[in-house]
Symmetry: C2
Subunit: 370 residues, 2 copies
């Protein structure tokens, strides 16, 4: 039905305006920014791609006043300001997916591990999925295989690694054109990047972590960053892109604090973190003597997928990284001597929303023929 | 017609294999590598995208034996090994475009300034165009506007700047999602990059240029590189992407040798190039004292588009660049404090072909609905 209309649209000189429907899960800071950017570009999208973006529903995660920041409310046909994570709303999301017209996009900007069934249903129904949520991609391999079989080419997830940086699209192009990825090295945590480049300046580990926490760079409990789990999830997503069959648990985590500190309350952890200062100071000094620096690195080859602290030449691209920037260094058969490098902020509300909206634009370009 | 078939393809469970036709102009080293990569990925493309790539014709630029490197010749339905640049073959190309079935792609891997009418005809007929050839994009602004009006979204040219590096796609995404590009800084010539990073090692300008020439890094007449014209073309392409209306002649060229040397023969130029050594040695030394280096930079803002030699902090991303690598540093409203940086080889047969094939894959993904 849609394709025929579309063909007519082309035949009669772009007179047909197509509609793309969006069902959006999760309206946190990033989700709101996505809505804002879409609203700001509404006219551009209509004029450039003859496409009207129609928000069918937004499922917010808690009862809150949504500030649409000057967005025309007409954009929201059916704004359900209700938590979607309980079963009723999960059911409502599934129901909407069953009845929405194609083409449609399910947007997952939550951080929830409960959206997988909704993602699967959307793919089953021929819809597109765009997610910044890493959880549905870091499920068990057998679940991941099901996702792939349902619609690998309709699943977009640029922002799960490096936010708006064009890492996923680049790796896909390399793979699809027959290049062979030999190694990916990445600093994929802005938080850990900030911490280790501050340590270089001679600051104490405890002070840097507390500073980062106070500036809102870390999770409420900094151990969530220091455990490396977030980086491991990203490493798993990249590994699976390279065709590796593996589980999250196959990537050994290297905590940046002793395991014994896991049983402490957040407050006690923060009070005792200074006990780690001496060790880090020694490590940083030792590295410095060899003109090296500490970096928390994801390293993926055909054989291994690992995350952990490494000592790196200060003069290298990775050693040269400063502050919260991310970097990926991609070595392939074709980019062997000189790798392909992408660098820049790997977190942030605006740039993450840009990456998500970029995926939506890619889908619109697929669907429209002009 | 095509869309209906395609819809049926989707309806009846991917049973429909679509065909995408290619008319390919220019079979130099890059053109041959594109054909090779496509042939190697033929099965992948069929299985992943249910698409058969059908080479309708390849127009080579001179009568030569084409080594297809193990490519199944069945790929070439109608291989015309005749020069296409004379009027007869230009006519033949136009004729083929008039009769070829959609969807089709015109590939321009020539370095010719004669392909513009063929490119225009392909867009007029609803076809896609993929080019590594910069010339049709650096024509007069009024011609460029016509190209845009014929099918802006069907024109792909990732490899015209930075070869396989994902520069064009990234800028498009930023623009289309409503970000505002404030400044692009780029080292976009591998040849000039090599020359200036060798100068840093204390080598003489004449020796470095002659070395580069002997290694095949420069054009036969190195003045073609040293004039900066190639970088200016790339700067124009980037400027027009940002919506600037301007001509190639609006970008002032900064020759890296005195204008008086333009009247010399290549041989005489090479014999006299040593007269420039002292000046370059002084410039490099002076920069070094301030911990700086010389870089040949394209710099594009809303106000200016310029190319020329600049003195840059050695510790910066651009100052840190070594050898023939390219780099672009993109500052936008959303990537303001920390820019988005892409770095890597910006020339080379394999990586350029990868970028071209990547554009073809993007088109295939647009055309197929799976």
């Amino acid at each position: 039905m849609f394709f025929i209309q579309n063909a007519v649209g082309q035949k009669f000189g772009k007179e047909y305006m197509q509609t793309i429907n969006i069902i959006h899960l999760g309206l946190g800071n990033v989700g709101k920014e996505v809505v804002k950017q879409i609203a700001q570009q509404e006219i551009f999208v209509r004029e450039s791609f003859f496409t009207r973006i129609n928000y069918v529903a937004i499922f917010v995660s808690k009862k809150e006043v949504v500030d649409f920041n000057g967005i025309p409310l007409s954009l929201l046909v059916n704004d359900k300001e209700i938590p979607w994570e309980n079963s009723t709303n999960s059911d409502l999301a599934l129901e909407l997916i069953n009845t929405v017209s194609s083409p449609f996009i399910l947007l997952d900007t939550t951080a929830s591990d409960k959206t997988l069934p909704i993602v699967k249903r959307a793919l089953q129904k021929g819809g597109y999925v765009v997610m910044s949520n890493k959880k549905p991609l870091t499920v068990l391999q057998k679940e991941s295989d099901i996702l792939d079989s349902l619609g690998k080419h309709r699943l977009f997830y640029e922002t799960t690694v490096g936010a708006g940086l064009p890492i996923i699209h680049t790796l896909q192009t390399l793979r699809e054109t027959g290049d062979e990825v030999l190694e990916i090295q990445g600093c994929l945590s802005g938080t850990l990047g900030y911490i280790f480049s501050e340590l270089e300046k001679g600051k104490k580990f405890s002070m840097v972590v507390l500073d980062a926490k106070n500036q809102g760079f870390t999770e409420p409990d900094p151990r969530d960053d220091l455990s490396g789990l977030d980086v491991a999830r990203k490493a798993l997503i990249l590994s699976r892109m390279l065709g590796k069959k593996m589980e999250l648990s196959d990537i050994p985590l290297q905590d940046l604090y002793p395991q014994s500190m896991n049983k402490l309350s957040t407050e006690d952890f923060l009070n005792q973190i200074h006990t780690l200062d001496k060790q880090y100071q020694e490590n940083v000094s030792k590295a410095k003597k060899e003109n090296k620096v500490l970096r928390f690195l994801a390293r993926i080859t055909k054989q291994t997928s690992a995350v952990g602290l490494e000592t790196i030449d200060k003069e290298s691209d990775i050693g040269n990284l400063q502050g919260p920037d991310n970097i990926v260094v991609i070595k392939t058969k074709r980019y062997q001597k000189n790798p392909l490098i992408i660098k820049g902020p790997g977190a942030g509300i605006e740039v993450t929303a840009t990456g998500i909206f970029g995926n939506i634009i890619d889908i619109i370009k697929k669907e429209v023929h002009i």
